[in-house]
C-alpha cells in the first residue's frame, strides 16, 4: 500500500477516535441542563468526563497535526477554507475547556451557572459544526486552480451540510446519554438511559438520511458495508438501552460513530477534498501528500508511539471505571460557603434502588 494511503487511513482513525471519545463528552456537556436536576447532579455529570475530556480532545490536535504533516495541501486548503466554522469551534473549545476547571473554583449557583452555559454552548457548537464540516468535505466545495477555497461560510450551510451537522449533534447527545447511563448510579442513570433511547431514535432517522445521501453521492461497496453496520449497531445499541444493558448500549453508539466516520473516509477516498469548481483542483491523497521520506519518518514514529498512547489512555478509563453517584460528590466546601437550598444536599434515594 502507498504510504499516502496508509496516512489517509491513519487520519481517518484519528478522527474516528476523536468523535467516539469527545463525542460522548460533547454529549454530556449538552445534557447538563436536561439530565441534571440540581447542582449535585450537574457535578455528577461533569465528573464522569472530568479526568478524560482533555485526553479526548488531544485526538483532534493530533488529527490536525497529522494532516499538516502528511497532507500539507489538504491542511492548508481545509483550514483556510473552513475559516469561520473552525474559528467558532476554537472559541467553543476554549470556553468549554476553562469552564470545567473554573466552575468548581467558587461556591454558589450563579458562578457555576455561567460556566455551565459555557460548557453547554461549548459542546453544542463543535458537535454541530464538525458534522457540517465533514458533510461538506464529502459533498465537495468550490476550490480554484490554486487550491484555495473560494466559497464563504454560507456555502457550507447547505441542506446536506446542515443534515450532517444535525446528525453529529444528535448522535453525540445519544452517545453522551449512553455514557452517563454507563458511568453514573442512582436516578440519573435511569433517566439518561431513557433519554438516550428517545434522542437515539431521532439520531437514527437523521443518520440514515445522511448516510443514504453520502452513499448515493460518492459511495462504494466498502462504504455501503460500513454505513450498514453503523446503522445496525445504532439500532442494536438503542435496543440494548431499552433492555437496560448499558455496556452494550454504549458500545452500540461507539461502533456507530466509528464506522460512520470510517465509511465517510472510504467514500471520499482517493479524494481528500473534492472541488465542485469547473477547472478547480480536487485534492487527493496523491496531489496533497507530503514526500515519501516525511511519510516514512512519520510512519515509524506513529508505529512506535501509537500503541503506547492507546495503552495508557485505556488505563485511565480503567482507573476511573467506577460509577459516580450523587453521594460521591464531596460537599464540605459547598455546605460551608454555598447556598444550601441551591445545591441539593438532600441525599438522593435513587442510588439505593439501583
Amino acid at each position: 500500500m502507498e504510504l499516502s494511503t496508509v496516512w489517509f487511513c491513519l487520519i481517518a482513525v484519528l478522527w474516528m477516535g476523536y468523535f467516539v471519545l469527545e463525542g460522548f463528552d460533547f454529549g454530556v456537556g449538552m445534557l447538563l441542563p436536561v439530565l441534571a436536576r440540581d447542582e449535585r447532579e450537574r457535578r455528577v455529570l461533569i465528573n464522569t468526563i472530568g479526568p478524560v475530556w482533555d485526553g479526548n480532545e488531544v485526538w483532534v490536535i493530533t488529527a490536525g497535526g497529522a494532516t499538516f504533516a502528511a497532507f500539507p495541501e489538504w491542511y492548508a486548503t481545509l483550514f483556510s477554507g473552513f475559516y469561520l466554522p473552525l474559528l467558532f469551534i476554537l472559541l467553543a473549545l476554549i470556553v468549554r475547556g476553562v469552564a470545567f476547571e473554573f466552575r468548581h473554583q467558587r461556591p454558589g449557583i450563579t458562578w457555576a451557572g455561567w460556566w455551565d452555559r459555557a460548557v453547554i454552548v461549548g459542546s453544542f457548537v463543535p458537535a454541530l459544526l464538525w458534522g457540517v464540516a465533514f458533510a461538506n468535505l464529502v459533498r465537495g466545495v468550490p476550490i480554484d486552480a490554486d487550491k484555495n477555497y473560494t466559497g464563504s461560510l454560507w456555502t457550507l450551510l447547505n441542506p446536506v451540510g446542515l443534515l450532517g451537522g444535525l446528525m453529529t449533534l444528535t448522535l453525540f447527545i445519544t452517545h453522551g446519554a449512553m455514557f452517563v447511563a454507563l458511568k453514573t448510579d442512582g436516578d440519573i442513570r435511569h433517566r439518561a438511559r431513557a433519554l438516550a433511547v428517545r434522542v437515539g431514535a431521532v439520531a437514527a432517522v437523521l443518520a440514515v438520511a445522511f448516510l443514504v445521501w453520502a452513499q448515493l453521492h460518492t459511495g462504494n461497496a466498502g462504504s455501503f458495508v460500513l454505513f450498514a453496520v453503523a446503522a445496525v449497531s445504532l439500532l442494536a445499541g438503542l435496543f440494548a438501552a431499552l433492555k437496560g444493558r448499558e455496556g452494550w448500549a454504549f458500545l452500540g453508539t461507539f461502533v456507530t460513530i466509528a464506522l460512520a466516520v470510517a465509511g465517510l473516509f472510504v467514500a471520499l477516498f482517493p479524494d481528500v477534498m473534492p472541488s465542485t469548481t469547473e477547472g478547480g483542483v480536487t485534492l487527493t491523497t496523491t496531489n496533497a501528500s507530503a514526500t515519501h521520506y516525511t511519510l516514512t519518518v512519520m510512519t515509524i514514529i506513529a508505529a512506535i508511539f501509537t500503541p503506547a498512547v492507546l495503552a495508557y489512555q485505556a488505563w485511565t478509563y480503567w482507573v476511573f471505571r467506577k460509577r459516580i453517584a450523587v453521594h460521591h460528590i464531596p460537599t464540605e466546601e459547598l455546605e460551608q460557603e454555598g447556598d444550601r437550598a441551591d445545591i441539593g444536599v438532600e441525599p438522593d434515594p435513587g442510588h439505593v434502588i439501583s
Binding site: 493530533t62 500539507p72 483550514f79 521520506y293 514514529i301 485511565t316
Partner: protein, 482 residues
C-alpha cells in the same frame, strides 16, 4: 490595517505571547510541584504536602488556560498562514504531529490521573503521574522548538522547484539543528525560572502576611529561590551560546539587536541604553560597555561584528530572488530596529533582575533568618512579573529579529499568509480571540489572587490506596471532584 498580512501578524503575536504566559508557568510549576510532592513522600513532612496542594490549585487554573490557548496555535497556521503551510508542511508538520502524539497525549492523560487520582492511585504512582506530565512538557518543548529553529535556520531540506515547496530530506538534522540545541536549554531554563519566580512571589507574599504558617512559606520560598538561581545561571550560559550561533546563522539579527548600522572595527561596544532617533539610525547618547558586543557575538572581545548596511548588501546579493517570487522592496531584509534593540535589552534586563532577586532571597533567608517587612513581599512579587515579561520580549526579539523572513532565506512573511481569506474573516477572528482572551485573563487573575490570599489549606492526610484494596468503601466521596 486593511491588509490580511497585518491582521494575521498581529493575531499571531497576540495569541502566541498570551499562550506563552501559561507555557513557561506550566513547565516550571510541574517541575516544582513534582519536587514538592516527592519531598513529602520521602520526608513525610506535612508542610510539603500542603505546599503541593496549594500550588496545585494555582497550577491547574494555569494549565487549563495553556491547553485551550494551545489549540488556537495549531489551527492558525492553516487558517491564516495557508501558503506558509503549503510551503513548509513537509518539514514543519512532522514535529507538530509528533508533539501531539508524544507530548500532548502524555500531558493531558496524566494530568487527569494526577488531578483525580488521589484516592485511586498508590502514592508513588500519583507523584509519578506528575513527573510524566513534566516529561511531556519537555517533549513538547523539544518538538515545537525544533519547528521554530527550522524557521530561524532551515536545515535538512531541499527546495523542490516542481512542487514549489521545501522538502524534508534529513529528519535528524531538523531535530538536532544547532539553533535548537541552543534554544532548548535556554527556553526550558527560562521556564523553570518562571515557575520558580511564581513560587517565590506567592510564598513571600504569604510569608509576610500569614504568621502562623511562616515555616511553610519559608520552605516554598527557599525551594523556589534555589530553582530560580540555578536555572538563571543556565539561562545566561545558554543565552551566550545562542548569541554566537545566531551571529553565525542570522548575522542580521545580531546587528539588529545592537542597532549596529556600520560594521564595527575591533572591540565592538554593547550599549546598555541609547537615546537616539526613532528609526534607530542615529544615536545621540549611549551608555556603552567596550568590546561586549564583540564578545556576545563571537566569544572574543576584539573581533569585528558585521553591521546592518553591509549585511543588507550581502543579503541582496544572495537572496535577490527567493523560491516564490519577487516580494520585497529595496531596504528590506532589515527587521524593525527599535523593536529588536529594546526587546533584546528588556529580555536580558528583566531576566537578570528576576534572577538577582533569587540570590538576594537566598542570602536574606540564610540560616533561619528572614525579613518580614511588607517591602520584602512587594519586591518578591515583582520577580514572577519580571521573569514572565522577559520570556515574552525574548520571543518578540527572536521572531521580530527574523523579519522580513518567515523562514530565513526561503520565504518572506508577506508570502506566507492565506490568499483566500477575506479581511472581514480575519478581523472577526482577531477581535473574537482578543475579547475572549481578555475576559479569561481577568477571570484567571481574579481566581489566582483569591486563592493566593486564602493561602494553603490545613493538612489532611490523603487516602493511601494500595494497588488492589482501594474499593473498600464504595460509597466514600471522591477526594477530588470538579
Amino acid at each position: 490595517m486593511h491588509d490580511i498580512l497585518d491582521i494575521a501578524r498581529w493575531q499571531f503575536g497576540i495569541v502566541t505571547i498570551y499562550h506563552f504566559f501559561f507555557v513557561p508557568l506550566t513547565i516550571g510549576l510541574s517541575l516544582i510541584i513534582a519536587m514538592m510532592e516527592t519531598i513529602w513522600l520521602v520526608t513525610k513532612t506535612q508542610e510539603w504536602l500542603r505546599l503541593t496542594k496549594f500550588f496545585a490549585k494555582l497550577f491547574l487554573i494555569n494549565i487549563a488556560m495553556g491547553v485551550v490557548t494551545g489549540i488556537v496555535q495549531e489551527f492558525q497556521f492553516g487558517m491564516n498562514w495557508s501558503d506558509y503551510s503549503r510551503f513548509v508542511g513537509d518539514i514543519f508538520g512532522a514535529p507538530l504531529a509528533v508533539e501531539a502524539l508524544l507530548a500532548f497525549f502524555l500531558e493531558s492523560t496524566f494530568i487527569g490521573l494526577w488531578i483525580f487520582g488521589w484516592d485511586k492511585l498508590p502514592r508513588w504512582m500519583h507523584v509519578g503521574c506528575l513527573w510524566i506530565v513534566h516529561l511531556g512538557t519537555l517533549f513538547s518543548s523539544w518538538f515545537i522548538l525544533a519547528a521554530n529553529s527550522w524557521m530561524q535556520h532551515p536545515v535538512g531540506y531541499s527546495y523542490n522547484k516542481a512542487t514549489g515547496r521545501a522538502e524534508l530530506n534529513d529528519f535528524w538534522a531538523v531535530m538536532f539543528n544547532k539553533v535548537q540545541l541552543g534554544a532548548f536549554p535556554h527556553v526550558i531554563a527560562a521556564a523553570y525560572m518562571t515557575g520558580a519566580a511564581f513560587v517565590i512571589g506567592v510564598s513571600a507574599w504569604l510569608y509576610v502576611r500569614k504568621q502562623a504558617d511562616r515555616g511553610l512559606y519559608r520552605q516554598g520560598m527557599r525551594l523556589g529561590a534555589w530553582v530560580l538561581a540555578l536555572s538563571g545561571i543556565v539561562v545566561v550560559i545558554s543565552g551566550d551560546v545562542q548569541g554566537k550561533i545566531m551571529t553565525d546563522v542570522q548575522p542580521m539579527k545580531m546587528a539588529a539587536a545592537e542597532a549596529l548600522w556600520t560594521t564595527s572595527d575591533t572591540h565592538a561596544p554593547f550599549s546598555l541604553f541609547t537615546i537616539g532617533t526613532r528609526d534607530g539610525q542615529h544615536k545621540k547618547w549611549a551608555l556603552e560597555v567596550p568590546g561586549l558586543l564583540s564578545f556576545l557575538a563571537t566569544g572574543h572581545f576584539d573581533q569585528k561584528v558585521q553591521g546592518i548596511d553591509d549585511l543588507r548588501a550581502e543579503y541582496k546579493q544572495e537572496y535577490g530572488s527567493d523560491p516564490g517570487a519577487e516580494y520585497y522592496a529595496p531596504g528590506d531584509y532589515t527587521p524593525i530596529i527599535p523593536v529588536t534593540y529594546w526587546s533584546f535589552r528588556w529580555m536580558m534586563g528583566l531576566g537578570a533582575v528576576g534572577a538577582v532577586i533569587a540570590f538576594l532571597l537566598l542570602w536574606l533567608t540564610r540560616k533561619g533568618r528572614a525579613p518580614t517587612g511588607r517591602w520584602f513581599s512587594w519586591a518578591a512579587i515583582l520577580s514572577p512579573i519580571f521573569v514572565l515579561l522577559a520570556n515574552s520580549v525574548g520571543w518578540l526579539f527572536t521572531e521580530m529579529g527574523r523579519q522580513p523572513w518567515v523562514v530565513f532565506g526561503l520565504m518572506t512573511t508577506r508570502n506566507a499568509v492565506s490568499p483566500g481569506v477575506s479581511t472581514t474573516d480575519a478581523w472577526i477572528s482577531i477581535i473574537a480571540l482578543c475579547l475572549i482572551y481578555a475576559v479569561l485573563a481577568v477571570v484567571e487573575l481574579w481566581l489566582l489572587v483569591l486563592f493566593i490570599k486564602k493561602g494553603a489549606d490545613a493538612f489532611v492526610e490523603p487516602p493511601d490506596p494500595r494497588w488492589r484494596d482501594h474499593d473498600e468503601d464504595p460509597d466514600r466521596p471522591l477526594t477530588f471532584a470538579y
